[in-house]
Amino acid sequence: MSQKTLLNSKEIGIILHRLACQLIENHLDFSNTVLVGIQPRGIFLAERLTRILRDEYDVNNIQLGYLDITFFRDDFRRSEKILEANKTKIDFVVENKRVVFIDDVLYTGRSIRAALTAIQSFGRPDDIELLVLIDRRFSRHLPIQPNYRGRQVDAINKERVKVNWEENEGEDMVYLINQEKDK
């Protein structure tokens, strides 16, 4: 198993500020916009962006929610892994709102497909956009593309992208991990 660094802390900082600015460009004062972090890994990015928008760009009225997609996934009883549920916390109605889904890595697109179904339980949004830190190109199983992307990565299937966050793993880093054994 080998790993190489895709993004370091400084690069992640620059990308987060760019993504925040792109959000402001499209959503202005966020009065009709809600941010939804996809559980479990999307919530760190969502919280970080919310903090940058609030502290550095004076956007104070951001509504942030967490959406768990476990019960909406299409691999229940199909994968070896047991699907464990996380907390959904959406304290607002998304009816007629502009929703931005936030996740760390976009890979097959199946999680986002599940999130698109799951969010319907909370109303009918005006539109839904997708923001991801890492977009793994050429690996999509579904016709889903991000509206905002941090970095595009070409990775083969045996490789895994791992995003570490300061508040969780103690560092801001993105690694590309090759799961094949070294010869």
């Binding site: 768990d68 019960f71 909406f72 047991i82 699907l83 549920a85 907390k87 109605v93 179904t117």
Partner: protein, 310 residues
């Protein structure tokens, strides 16, 4: 990643503490789901569940059916009173006939203790025991503990008294197993004739004075006198039972602390508890019913995740 240690829910006796925690944590998420504007998730859309009720039930049957439907499972219902069981068909034949219609899971209530265990050895489906005679009623015990956890923060270390007909009660036995497993202190209270002889061997205390029991406890779980199971007279009269083992508002108010009142239903108002107690703010009877759906969703979801696809 955790999963249940069992493939069937036949009784609390077969679970470990981790199983109970996993069920509770999963139920937390389902409780959030059933409070959404749209209360349904598609997880079990390829699972078919048969509800076999060989004995009468209102809330358990409705609660299971609702839980299954909220998980998008296909549901078929069966009541013994309207079926070929009356014509002499055996339990295994009845269930195998139903299973040959491609059913993945069976929720069964049966008047005979051990019916679920028996079935799990002879048929190829996940079995959920919804009450077997005077043996176990695991989902009721889980929702009772879950309701205590929700109200008091934790089950461990709490004093719980189960009052009433312990002898004929599957709710009592399952509750004792579940509460002990989670580290609660348990006492039973009732007329001596309705307390099983060796009940202390389960590690529970016995108290025949209701006031003393209530003064000791944090939670009182009031059981119904199961008149339909009383083959002989176990106490002189209902009036005397109520006087000695019924909880009324005056008794509750005379205690120096506020205890939590639970009841698995159906309530005989004026017998084991009076109406003003059942409807008081100390009572969590309706929370128990709401939590019942979340707990059953969690149990069904976790068992279904162990049924392998193809």
């Amino acid at each position: 990643m955790s999963e249940l240690s069992v493939n069937h829910l036949l009784g609390i006796k077969y679970l470990n503490e981790k199983d109970i925690q996993l069920i509770f944590e999963t139920a937390d998420q389902f409780k959030e789901v059933i409070n959404r504007p749209i209360k349904k998730v598609p997880s079990l859309r390829d699972i078919t569940i048969a509800n076999l009720f060989f004995e009468n039930s209102t809330r358990t049957k409705l609660s299971f059916e609702l839980a299954e439907k909220r998980l998008s499972a296909d549901v078929i219902n069966f009541s013994a009173s309207q079926s070929s069981v009356k014509k002499g068909e055996t339990l295994i034949d009845t269930v195998n006939n139903i299973l040959s219609m491609k059913v993945d899971m069976v929720v069964m209530r049966h008047p005979n203790p051990g019916a679920g265990v028996f079935l799990s050895k002879h048929v190829n489906a996940s079995i959920v025991n919804a009450g077997d005679g005077a043996h176990e009623h695991p989902t009721q015990a889980l929702l009772d503990s879950y309701s205590i956890r929700e109200k008091l923060g934790d089950v461990a270390g709490k004093n719980v008294v189960i009052v009433g007909d312990i002898l004929h009660s599957r709710v009592a036995l399952s509750n004792i197993f579940a509460l002990k497993l989670q580290g609660a202190n348990v006492k039973v209270c009732g007329p001596k004739t309705l307390l099983p002889t060796y009940i202390e061997s389960l590690g529970v205390g016995v108290e025949t004075n209701l006031r003393k029991a209530l003064e000791w406890c944090d939670v009182a779980n009031m059981l119904r006198v199961q008149n339909e199971r009383l083959d002989i007279s176990y106490f002189p009269s209902t009036r005397e039972y109520t006087q000695l083992f019924g909880v009324n508002k005056a008794l509750l108010d005379s205690l120096d602390k506020e205890i939590v009142i639970m009841h698995p239903g159906p309530i005989n108002r004026g017998v084991e508890i009076t109406s003003d107690v059942a409807d008081s703010k100390q009572s969590i009877i309706l929370n128990q019913v709401e939590n019942g759906v979340a707990i059953r969703m969690a149990v069904i979801y976790l068992l279904a995740s162990k049924i392998k696809n193809v």
